[in-house]
């Protein structure tokens, strides 16, 4: 898109060419990825609640991590998924990955879970499993609450989920201790609340992309959600609680300095506007 040329220094601040902003941002991100200057990360109350909910989940019940995200939000939901998986392994909780909205999520989350499982010497089928993508939308949840093995059928490896040792005794939603919804899609949480958390009182917690998180604070306030992770910041906060810096923490310094740059540009743009307006008034007078 063609932009009008800047005529004066104040005008330039308002009409700074886009490529200058892009280059500045890329420069700041590169600088912080290569030589990070870190800010302290203080876990928020919503992140603490997620951490507590995972640790408090009953040992004899399964945790479901519903990975309803795909490549387009992986930079945020990937570190969140990793942080949640690590919290499960750390507290010795068995979990199943599942996906009912974004088909790529099951594969991408599997790639995240495998190396973490190796670090914790966790075994597939005994400590964790991946039920894979199940099509059918809300029908999947409706069916799952009554019969998990029948609804899930095969896992991502093509085995019947009933053949996995950790699935022994898992029949319906009463055998689920916690659902962790990791998503970048609006509306997914509402379906979990409407069909599972509300009617069956199954504890539900969530991890959202930052852009959609503000809309879900009301659900944490009402207790329908036991905490939530907000964007990559939430992942970094979980890593602080786990005392294991990972992808989230690595991103945060670039994130913070990127925000400082954007704030500086907003202030500069507004300063340019005010000064240009003042000059125009003086010229008119």
């Amino acid at each position: 898109m063609a932009q009008a040329p800047a005529t004066g220094s104040w005008d330039y601040l308002q009409r700074m060419p886009r490529y200058v902003i892009y280059l500045l941002l890329a420069g700041v991100v590169l600088w912080q990825l290569l030589a990070p200057i870190r800010f302290p990360i203080v876990p928020s109350s919503t992140t603490r609640d997620v951490y507590k909910a995972i640790r408090a989940a009953p040992e004899n019940k399964l945790i479901i991590i519903s990975v309803d995200w795909d490549a387009s939000t992986q930079a945020e939901t990937g570190p969140q998924t990793a942080a949640v998986i690590r919290a499960c392994f750390e507290s010795g909780k068995r979990f199943a990955l599942m996906n009912w909205t974004a088909p790529m999520g099951a594969k991408l989350a599997n790639d995240i879970a495998r190396p973490i499982a190796e670090q914790y010497h966790a075994e597939y089928g005994r400590d964790w499993c991946n039920w894979g993508f199940k099509s059918g939308g809300a029908n999947v949840l409706m069916a799952m609450v009554k019969n998990i093995p029948e609804t899930m059928g095969n896992d991502v490896r093509g085995k019947r989920v009933t053949s996995l040792p950790m699935m022994k005794g898992v029949r319906d939603i009463k055998d689920i201790g916690l659902v962790v919804e990791v998503t970048g899609l609006a509306g997914v949480t509402e379906t979990w609340i409407g069909l599972v958390q509300g009617p069956y009182q199954t504890p539900l917690t969530a991890a959202y992309t930052a852009v959609m998180a503000p809309g879900y604070y009301a659900y944490t306030d009402s207790g329908q959600l036991k905490g939530m992770l907000v964007g990559v910041k939430g992942a970094a906060e979980m890593e602080v609680l786990e005392r294991k810096p990972g992808l989230g923490s690595a991103i945060m310094s670039a994130q913070s300095w990127g925000h400082i740059l954007i704030l500086a540009l907003i202030i500069l743009g507004n300063t340019g506007y005010l000064l240009a307006r003042g000059r125009a008034r003086r010229e008119r007078a």
């Binding site: 203080v42 109350s45 509402e190 930052a210």
Partner: protein
């Protein structure tokens, strides 16, 4: 050759190709955009077959003698009668079934989603009604004591709730004594909404920046880091 290398190169070229949009609209970014959409669609079909239809429909029908499953795709195919004026009524049957199911789900979900929201809006505003330990989880920075935090939280909540609701109350003109009060409340509600939208915009910036940083991490540590040891490992 390490089998990872072609994948790394393909991903790096696709990433850089998509980012050429930053210069201007061009065929390269369009090409990679279309490849991405095509791959996602193809993957959806594959996964739907391997993880759903094969296990739950094909195998029971072919290997376990549950021949009645043959009627499931027949019912699904009725949707295509939308292209026939004469037999459109058959498509309407399955559409009606789909809409009815969706309406049923929506109705079923309405109360579990919204009723707790309404009850959670009733918060104690009198200090003596708030247990001193109620706000412990709310103040990680320990700026206020728990009790003070809850009082502040609840009052701020109540004021914003009423003023924002008044902004959407259009049945009374902003004239006369009550109207003027309503007008001021509505104006305050508008300001609170703007603050909330600002917070949402801030989060949007954070989300978009995260995606960019994620790609930069890949290009630096996974792709270039594969060849230049100075970049080290990821993260």
């Amino acid at each position: 050759m390490n089998p990872e290398v072609p994948v790394l190169w393909a991903t790096a070229i696709a990433t850089l190709g998509v980012y050429t949009i930053l210069y201007r609209e061009n065929p390269i970014s369009r090409l990679f955009e279309h490849i991405f959409v095509g791959l996602a669609a193809g993957y959806l079909i594959l996964v739907t077959w391997t993880q759903n239809l094969e296990a739950k429909w094909w195998a029971p029908m072919v290997h376990q003698g549950r021949w009645q499953w043959i009627f499931a795709p027949v019912i699904g195919l009725l949707f295509y009668f939308i292209y026939s004026r004469r037999l459109l009524w058959m498509a309407r049957l399955v559409m009606g079934l789909t809409f009815g199911t969706a309406a049923g789900y929506t109705f079923r979900q309405f109360f579990p989603i919204n009723a707790p929201q309404i009850t959670a809006s009733f918060k104690p505003l009198r200090p003596d009604l708030v247990p001193p330990s109620a706000g412990e989880a709310l103040h990680p920075l320990r700026v206020l004591d728990a009790w003070g935090y809850v009082i502040l939280h609840n009052w701020v909540f109540a004021i914003i709730l009423f003023t924002v609701l008044s902004y959407f109350f259009f049945s009374v003109p902003h004239e006369g004594r009550f109207g003027r009060v309503l007008g001021r409340s509505s104006m305050a509600g508008r300001w609170f909404l703007m603050i909330a939208f600002g917070a949402m915009f801030g989060n949007t910036v954070m989300a978009r920046l995260s995606l960019f940083i994620g790609r930069m991490q890949f290009l630096l540590f996974d792709w270039l880091g594969h060849y230049v040891t100075w970049f080290g490992g990821r993260g």
